[in-house]
Symmetry: C2
Subunit: 418 residues, 2 copies
Amino acid sequence: MSIREEIIAQAREARRAARILANLSTEVKDQALEAIAQSLEVSMAEIMAENRKDLEAGEKAGLSKALLDRLLLNEERIKGMAEGLRELIKLKDPVGDIIEMWRRPNGLQVGKMRVPMGVIAIIYEARPNVTIDAAGLCLKAGNAVILRGGSEAINSNRILARIAAEAIARVGLPAASIQLIQTTDREAVSVLLGLNEYLDLLIPRGGAGLIRRVINEARVPVIETGTGNCHIYVDQGADLEMAREIVFNAKTSRPGVCNAVETLLVHRDIAGEFLPELYQVLKESQVELRGCPGAREIIPEIKEATEEDWQEEYLDYILAIKLVKDFEEAVNHINTYGTKHSEAIITNDYSRSQRFLQEVDAAAVYVNASTRFTDGNQFGLGAEIGISTQKLHARGPMGLNELTSCKFVIYGQGQIRE
Amino acid sequence: MSIREEIIAQAREARRAARILANLSTEVKDQALEAIAQSLEVSMAEIMAENRKDLEAGEKAGLSKALLDRLLLNEERIKGMAEGLRELIKLKDPVGDIIEMWRRPNGLQVGKMRVPMGVIAIIYEARPNVTIDAAGLCLKAGNAVILRGGSEAINSNRILARIAAEAIARVGLPAASIQLIQTTDREAVSVLLGLNEYLDLLIPRGGAGLIRRVINEARVPVIETGTGNCHIYVDQGADLEMAREIVFNAKTSRPGVCNAVETLLVHRDIAGEFLPELYQVLKESQVELRGCPGAREIIPEIKEATEEDWQEEYLDYILAIKLVKDFEEAVNHINTYGTKHSEAIITNDYSRSQRFLQEVDAAAVYVNASTRFTDGNQFGLGAEIGISTQKLHARGPMGLNELTSCKFVIYGQGQIRE
């Protein structure tokens, strides 16, 4: 079989499985999740042996320490995956919820019921735990999933997907509910992107190159997960201690993630008071600052920021700083340079707090809190399949609800249309 | 300027306009809708003169009577467009609604606020009234719109779009909120489909050829509106008079639309009693029947149905009939051949009614009512921009809510992430 034929055969099986999954009770789906969790725990040695192969190949290929660490599966991480599945069991199953229902003048009752998407494909890079996390989330929401992981993790992904498929088969679910693309050939991605006949949704999780390729080639509906060039605006009259703590947290708690702050906007009237102390604490954490001329007048030691700095998602210990003359300039800067991910204002002014929430166009807009909270668990969604930066279907952190669609259910008593 | 440059310039203007529209009050948007309505009413002669050009060109090109009728704008139809806009004024503005909000253990309040999509492109065929209907819907939901109509209606579309843009400019809105692609060159569609940098959503409204082209080429998020191969299943023990009325209504009230029934499934135990009378009433309305062998044993006069008949959306006075041995066979047939549009069961059995709603995978599933109700107005959405047959974002009739996205709004008191 060609790669194309093989993947189409998998997609057909996934579609068949999806029909069955859509009508399973929550109880049965939860049993399947528990079965996977137990299988992971009893297969630790086997998983680590396969993971070893990926690590060795990665070392040979000269992968960075950071990448090798992302690749690593040890007992703790495998237990973590099992725990993640058990957390999913505790979450409410969205399928079958009637989210609204109303009666029409002719007596028809029209309601909207949550239903599974059907077949979801996930294309991801490096971290093999995504194999289990994504499979679990899709399963709980009644979807079949086709997984395409990074080639560096192929041995780990294969064993994880096989364990999951076998575990759910043992409790009576179709094994094809969880399938991994077996080849590492890049052609497989192209094939997946064209399968609009079989796939209801495709979610790419990875770097800008992957996302771009998916957007450009896909015929399948896609949810774009993307970059975060996030801002914090410290307003006139803000609580400056709060502002410092939030900026410090948003920059240094985990600089490599999409909800970390990249540019700080400061009202010029408070910059002289605010920036020097902030500079001290950031310097202690090895954060490099790059400032506009105004900021450099206050802290001459810092580098000059260029136009590129306003655009860049550093994902690193670097922060750009710009003074603004008023609220409007801040909002304008954010709406111009932001990637519509997470944006925050630190203020004590009621009306500007409301205007910020209203006028800034982003997946998550904050008053007086760190941008680092943009995350499914932090928002209380219970789990997260990714953070959408597009506006269609889901925006921001996506949990179980976002892995469902709706259908109209209509209860009649013989109504016909005039 | 090349076509590409021209359209990109329009898209840039649309983006700028969208930023302003997103923050307008409902009152101002409603004033703009009223301004368009009044402009249409005072410009009737001008509109009809431009429409005359399209009609003459259409006659020369040998368009069918039906197509020429779709193209025609007379006083009544222009008044109808104005009335449609005034209906929109009465509808609730979804923008700014907080659809849910909850408090996290750390005190953060996390809510979801409805916001406009941004810039929406609509590609449509033939009927020029879509120019005004779509512009009005997009505007009420705070979106800028780029319209690409069919070449047959170009003169009508140009005058309508110009009137709308000038009318809203008079009440202070950016004229670029409503823009028409001025060229009829097919290249314009290709350019639009690639503008993912500027467009948040593209909705194609038209025949299968257009939809396929859009799905294949688009980099912009698309909502697929599609064909309806709709079924009615008449269950054992159904109220047969109700069943007859519903089938008659679903087939004959408007056979050319997507929510008309195309295949009738009948439980074999009641077919002998049900079909002959149904045959009489359908014959009187010139409906051609095509049946499976079992149906032809009961009504030998009808044609034989082939495999193609189960697949086809006739959009005509034709109905395929198949006897089934049980509920499962009916659901299976629907899930195999249906296009996931509108499906109905006629039954008095409680448990099968519930199972049908659950197990049939379609945008709208009915018990004891005509499939013809699948429509934004009939469902009480107030208006409709199209009927989605995909699962992402919106499924079934789409009203104002479906032209919005959400953002997370977070109220903090200085929270930082551990």
